[in-house]
Amino acid sequence: MKSLDPRVSRLPETGNSSPKVPLDQFGTFEVFVQPKEGKPFQHEGIVHAPNLEMAYVLAKEAFTRRFTCISIFVTETRNVYVSALTDGDEDAYDHVTKVASTSGKETFEIFHLLKRGKQHQHVGKVEAGSHNEALWVASQQLRGNKQVFNIWAIKTSGIRFTKQEDLDLWNTLGEKKFRDAAAYKGGDKLKSFLEKTAQQ
């Protein structure tokens, strides 16, 4: 292929392509970011990745290239148990019914959606034998005064958290000033150019 881009000109010929097969772009993972110490983790969006570890790396690239953040975590979308989304002044916990306690408890992370149009925030952990029980226990332990539009419960064991050795990931942000608008102050150059042209 003849191109203005020498790298494109060097591309090898390939045969005709066939349509993508299902999951060619891999599974779906939800990404949560903690912006500051003391602030809750907040849902940010998704990445596609072949496994949990790659999802973590790609999440770091997709969501924390700019903004300061101290920690992220990722989990497969299918691990997220979602309550019904409510409307008006209806609280999502009003639809949660009591579930008999079972043995074999696991830890679940609970998230609340406090405003429609915003994203879910982490509110705490509960011990339960099933997702449904986790919502019930959360209604007893984590329900506050604010209306909750939607609740998520995620098994803690399915989450890839930030480890101590990962913290270095964000240490290089400070060296990358060339990615900030503040590095491109053209005002002085423009001013002297305008003064020069005004004199001519």
Binding site: K20, G27, I46, H48, R66, E76, R116, A181, K185, L190
Partner: protein, 328 residues
């Protein structure tokens, strides 16, 4: 940050029939109150269809838009410019990721979107079918094409679909660097040697017609535009967006002593809007339908990338995974 001048499919008169009138009224009332629509909310089929089309086009534009600027990474003038351009191109590809994810929440898989891009079924912003002959062409894109896109994106960020608005908020936050960087590049060319000034003037002459096309054909208010605006899918007419861009950037271009290649371009003091020579919409249609200077190259690059990466994706794919629609 390359969304702009979306082409909406004509709406057939029967497309709204068959919708539950009670649900439709609730849906419209929610938008009227300024609330966002979320993926699990009920929505009319037409709303879903037009949104998928719009967000998908926007995502493709980010990915394809990385190519004309990427052309100059290997030959950027100096290390600082090279670092900045690489960071900018990386941002654009990242924006593509965010937008594909938002479109997926409406039920179209990423695989299907990429297939439709490569086989020519989906469109992307027409302006990226033009070549970047010189460094100055690259600077034109970084400054002015980005500026045009920001005008559109700031408007669309106030739209009604939650996941799209949230993706746009993230994208706009990164755009400020692009715009400042682009302006910085052009100030340096403008205040440089005569040869540098000539180089930018020539780029401006080449890119002005596609820039005017960027916002899309003049859309007279029709029933169709009305419903998309009522549902806050479309946040302003193409002419409004074009006019806003001219308002903000023509004075900045003139300030640098460049001429815009349209003798009729002037602000009409009576209407408060810009007069200009009507862009050549026949050319616009021709290029969008595949006959532009770089259409085949742009798609071929994407196709080859897909083919060359296929074995890696196959090696990484695990049988255990199943497709799940993203949550929000």
């Amino acid at each position: 940050m390359y969304g702009g001048g979306n082409t909406f499919e004509g709406i057939k008169s029967d497309e709204l029939t068959g919708e539950d009138p009670v649900k439709l009224a609730e849906f419209e009332a929610r938008i009227e109150r300024g609330e966002k629509i979320e993926p699990s909310d009920w929505m009319p089929k037409l709303y879903r269809k037009q949104l998928i089309r719009m967000i998908e086009q926007h995502a493709h534009s980010e990915i394809i838009g990385a190519l004309p600027e990427g052309t100059w990474i290997t030959r950027a003038p100096g290390f600082k410019r090279k670092m900045a351009l690489m960071a900018k191109v990386q941002d654009e590809v990242g924006h593509g990721q965010l937008l594909y994810s938002a479109a997926e929440t409406l039920g179209k898989s990423r695989e299907a979107m990429i297939d439709d891009l490569i086989n020519g079924k989906s469109k992307y912003s027409n302006i990226f079918n033009y070549p970047t002959f010189t460094w100055a062409d690259c600077c034109f894109i970084s400054w002015l094409v980005d500026a045009g896109a920001i005008v559109n994106q700031l408007a669309n960020a106030k739209g009604s679909y939650g996941p799209y608005c949230r993706a746009l908020d993230r994208i706009c936050a990164e755009e400020s660097f692009h715009l400042k960087y682009g302006h910085h590049c052009v100030i340096y060319l403008a205040s440089g040697t005569q040869k540098q000034r000539d180089m930018f003037q020539e780029a401006l002459n080449r890119w002005w017609p596609p820039m005017m096309h960027f916002f899309g054909p003049s859309d007279k208010i029709s029933v169709h535009t009305e419903i998309l605006m009522k549902w806050k899918v479309k946040m302003g007419t193409n002419d409004d967006m074009r006019n806003q861009f001219l308002d903000m950037y023509v004075p900045k271009i003139w300030e640098l002593g460049f001429t815009i290649p349209d003798p009729n371009l002037k602000k009409n003091t009576e209407t408060g809007r810009w007069d200009y020579t009507e862009p050549d919409w026949e050319e616009f249609k021709r290029v969008i339908n595949g006959d532009g200077p770089c259409n085949s190259e742009r798609l071929e690059v994407r196709r080859i990338a897909e083919e060359r990466g296929r074995w890696v994706r196959e090696a990484l794919r695990t049988a255990k995974t199943e497709y799940v629609t993203p949550l929000a």
